[in-house]
């Protein structure tokens, strides 16, 4: 590709001339390895699934025909997934936008506490968190029992079951997508637009409908896209609330009995996810609306009317309790005697035995150790892949860096179920990517899935640090006599290290709690990671032990959140240039 010097900013031309000398055997080898890994473990398995789905011996598209037949199970699952996802976008959107506007526009008592608590759902562990919702609001749960007693009716009247249960979980775990994007967008604007509208004669209502809400459209759309994609990928909530007609559950339950059917469902789900990935990326490039003026920060309004004060306080109190309850339930369960919750709204007997057991019992350390090992191994490989591809896509001007970018982000968009299924299909036979071995049924499938699923997190955070890093810094190092490697090691790496660290922490936590892909891939009891141990204990009725493992996950997430804050503070120096 011939560069167009006239269209490039001056900085790029300078970089390019340095870059041409970088075209040596070393960089070609790096690119070759990158292509090998991306094809072998990321893109290739998806293609294998596609070939598998059209190669069932009954005509190329036989497995896809049922999607068009309204009465078929596949069509029902597709509709079920879409239906739940649309509803989740609405409920999570309403909650997230409302909270973001409330907490970022007005000031009232305890606002700061509330603002910290609003992101608590992020700390909910994947499987145990959903179980906690079930135990609180589901069949036989705490609230249905309490309400049933109070109104003297059957607890079942108030139990959230099926789709309503899934929606509750989705709402409570996905509203942060809306909350974070809307809050960030509100931080970018200040009061002057509102004042301008008012000075031009707009009433309060007109200011809202014509200025404030339209301005929030980009973050709301961004939140909606993410929520939709996550809802389509959601597996645990439908599983626990027994909603079987969704695509993820259909893939998981048919993976052995009707693999061809499962592969077709996986392909359709993958296509939907990839479409959303492309839409999200297109949308990200449009950016958010910004207004800058001196002073900057938005002034919060103190709420003055006493009716508003009371309702805000009550509303904040109730929502806070709702937000904290699932985590509180996990902690409470951790100290309950296994099997002591037969009737009544809460467990009846408490003990320290569970805690003692998981920290002393020989078998109980196993799952924690397995999860740490698998996650650490996956993250170590993901650092190499993520950092290399981030550098290649942001700094090297080569043909096809857009393809590397999409390929890297692909597993992030794919549901865990689909990633796992792809790996099953791809590694059922020996190949050069598995060094001639059949990987299915071995220990290596789970860390491999973590590596594939969570590399994008490291890639993304590294790439965004690199984008913010002025390329002239690297050029300055080169001009002072440093080699490419020397400049990378002594200038680039230290400056993006906080970005890498952020991605690493996220990836490690995600791997530590991963359930959706793990349940499809693990085979041996002795290799079972934490999420599977929790699942086993839950199935065996040992809720106390499961909750104890859940507490370990919550504590780890909190530790990582605190660590991330530290890293971000230190990383601030990287962004001053």
């Amino acid at each position: 590709m011939t560069p167009h010097p006239s269209r490039q900013p001056a900085g790029w031309r300078a970089t390019l001339s340095l870059r041409e000398r970088d075209w040596n055997w070393g960089s070609i080898a790096v690119l070759f390895l990158l292509a090998f890994v991306l094809w072998g473990y990321v893109v290739g398995p998806l293609v294998s699934t596609f070939w598998f789905s059209v190669d069932s011996g009954q005509g190329a598209l036989a497995e896809y025909a049922p999607f068009l037949d309204f009465g078929s199970a596949q069509s029902e699952a597709l509709r079920g997934s879409l239906y739940i996802s649309v509803l989740s976008v609405i409920t999570a959107g309403a909650t997230g936008v409302f909270l973001a506007v409330l907490l970022n526009r007005w000031d009232f008592r305890f606002r700061r506490i509330y603002q910290a608590l609003v992101l608590v759902p992020i700390a909910l562990p994947p499987l145990m968190g959903v179980k906690a919702f079930y135990l609180l609001y589901g069949k036989g749960g705490t609230f249905p029992q309490l309400l049933g007693e109070f109104f003297h009716t059957s607890p079942l009247t108030f139990a959230l079951q099926g789709i309503s249960g899934v929606l509750l979980v989705h709402t409570m775990t996905m509203y942060p997508y809306f909350y974070l994007s809307v809050a960030a967008s509100m931080a970018q604007t200040d009061d002057s637009l509102e004042e301008a509208a008012s000075s031009l004669g707009a009433s309060t209502r007109q200011t809202w409908t014509r200025v404030l809400l339209p301005m929030l459209t980009p973050p709301i759309v961004a939140g909606a896209l993410l929520t939709f994609m996550s809802s389509m990928a959601s597996y645990t909530a439908p599983l626990l609330f027994e909603v079987n007609n969704v695509m993820t559950v259909q893939i998981a339950s048919n993976k052995e009995s009707q693999p061809a059917l499962a592969s077709a469902v996986a392909v359709i789900l993958a296509v939907i996810s990839v479409i959303f990935l492309i839409v999200i990326r297109g949308y990200e490039q449009r950016g958010v609306y910004r207004t800058q003026s001196k002073g900057g920060a938005r002034k919060r309004r103190w709420v003055t009317s006493s009716a508003a004060k009371v309702s805000l306080f009550a509303g904040a109190l109730i929502s806070t309790i709702i937000l904290i309850l699932p985590i509180a339930m996990i902690f409470l369960l951790a100290f309950s005697v296994d099997g002591s919750w037969r009737a009544g709204p809460l467990p009846s007997a408490y003990t320290m035995k569970n805690v003692v057991k998981i920290f002393s019992g020989a078998g109980s350390w196993g799952p924690i150790k397995n999860s740490v090992e698998m996650s650490a191994m996956a993250v170590a490989c993901a650092i190499v892949l993520g950092v290399t591809s981030a550098y290649v896509t942001t700094r090297m001007r080569i043909r096809g860096r857009g393809i590397i970018d999409i390929a890297m982000m692909l597993p992030w968009a794919l549901p865990g179920t689909v990633v796992a299924f792809n790996l099953i299909v791809a590694f059922a036979k020996p190949s050069m990517f598995s060094f001639g071995q059949v990987l299915i049924g071995t220990y290596w499938m789970v860390p491999l899935a973590y590596f594939v699923r969570f590399s994008p997190l490291i890639f993304r955070s590294t790439a965004s640090s690199l984008t913010q890093l002025d390329p002239t810094l690297e050029e300055a190092a080169r001009s002072l006599g440093s080699s490419w490697w020397g400049a990378f090691r002594r200038v680039v790496l230290p400056l993006v290290s906080s970005g890498i660290a952020g991605g690493v922490l996220l990836a490690f936590v995600a791997g530590f709690g991963e359930f959706v892909a793990t349940i499809m891939l693990y085979t041996k009891f002795k290799d079972r990671p934490l999420s599977i141990a929790i699942n086993d204990e839950l199935n065996a009725g040992h809720w106390g032990t499961a909750a104890c493992f859940g507490v370990v996950q919550v504590v780890l997430v909190l530790a990582v959140v605190i660590l991330m804050r530290r890293v971000e503070d230190r990383g601030a120096i990287a962004h001053t240039s």
Binding site: E195, A196, A197, L200, G201, A202, V211, T291
Partner: protein, 357 residues
């Protein structure tokens, strides 16, 4: 008839303390009125109270003798241009301009007609469909102006509208602002910290410091006859030298500087409230351009310490026995060598006396 009257207006903030301190002002119909002062003097707060964006702690605001002190901004019929322009980023240029007409529920053809006319007035008629972030700073500024003018406000409020523009654009936009004011005749309140802008554009100026009005007068009077030492320091390149009054007669007063030099002035060459009686202390304002080199006695001696070439002449700093003095020298004059001791004299008729405190 006055369009705007402020009566004992006061405002304090929790952190900043008293920002506006019992301000009284009157603005006449069609006037270009400027609030001038250093940052933090309260000028923007006064403007925001006029707009209804802040509520005063005490005092009253009257529009055409109607009390609007606690009316919301959207009921005041004002047009305001914000420092950062505050253009709505989700609307096109024309939609931004039409906003005020739409919320007033004007008819579609009228909105069209008036929006087009307003864009023409600020020379942006070809950019109606553009997105606001595609415009340059100067163009955004003019959209903000068109948006404020299209609603035919009784009062146009401009909050440091030129401070985000570069020097050349500032000059051009000043011309646009003046042309718009002349053609529309709208009463305009202009906030700035730039004395050059204020002197060049205003009919009258109110000079503010620390929430207090120091002087309200025409630009020429402010420049030539500052009311206080603050105004003298803030406007132009003034030297304010403390001196003592020696003797006073009906037609003249003799002033004695610390170095013993004496100067004769007319008693009218003083600000209101300055007492002229023997032994009282006064501040002598000597503008930089009214100092000149002399071979005779003059008022002081010194050496040239710093020279800046400004195109039309030189801006000099002279270290003298009366302290460091600023001096403007026309380009036609040969500057003395820096080693030489030089004598400075002053044009006596350009002297102005202010109080010292």
């Amino acid at each position: 008839m006055n369009v705007l009257r402020l009566e004992e207006l006061a405002k304090s903030f929790q952190r900043a303390g008293t920002v506006v301190d019992a301000v009284n002002l009157q603005v006449e119909d069609g006037e270009f009125f400027t609030l001038l002062g250093p940052s933090g003097c309260g000028k923007s707060t006064i403007l925001r109270m006029i707009a209804g964006l802040e509520e005063p702690d005490s005092g009253r605001i009257f529009f055409e003798e109607r009390d609007v002190t606690f009316d919301p901004p959207n009921k005041r019929g004002i047009g305001m241009v914000f420092q950062n322009y505050a253009l709505f980023p989700h609307l096109s240029v024309a939609q931004n301009v039409a906003f005020g007409l739409e919320v007033r529920k004007a008819s579609t053809p009228e909105i069209r007609k008036r929006t087009d006319a307003a864009l023409r007035q600020v020379q942006l008629d070809s950019l109606g469909a553009a997105r606001v972030d595609q415009l340059s700073g100067g163009q955004q500024q003019r959209v903000a102006l068109a948006r404020a003018l299209v609603i035919r406000p009784k009062l146009l409020l401009l909050d440091e509208p030129l401070s985000n523009l570069d020097a050349k654009l500032r000059g051009e936009t000043r011309a646009v602002l003046r042309a718009v004011h002349n053609s529309s005749g709208v009463t305009t309140i202009y906030v700035t910290h730039d004395q050059e802008e204020a002197l060049g554009m205003s009919d009258r100026i109110a000079v503010l410091n620390a929430g207090k009005v120091h002087q309200v007068a025409t630009p020429r009077e402010i420049y030539e006859r500052p009311a206080t030492k603050f105004v003298a320091d803030f406007i132009g390149r003034n030297n304010v030298i403390e001196a003592a009054v020696e003797n006073v007669s009906e037609n003249s007063a003799v002033i004695r500087f610390a170095n013993g030099a004496k100067l004769k002035v007319h008693p009218q060459q003083r600000a209101v409230g300055v007492e002229l009686k023997p032994l009282s202390r006064v501040g002598v304002c000597i503008r930089a351009e009214s100092l000149r080199f002399t071979d005779e006695n003059g008022i002081c001696t010194g050496v040239l310490s710093d020279v800046e070439y400004s195109g039309s002449g030189y801006s000099c700093l002279v270290k003298t026995d009366l302290g460091d003095l600023k001096m403007e020298v026309p380009g036609s004059i040969q500057l003395p060598s820096r080693e030489l001791t030089i004598r400075l004299d002053v044009i006596e008729s350009a002297i102005h006396l202010v109080g010292v405190s």
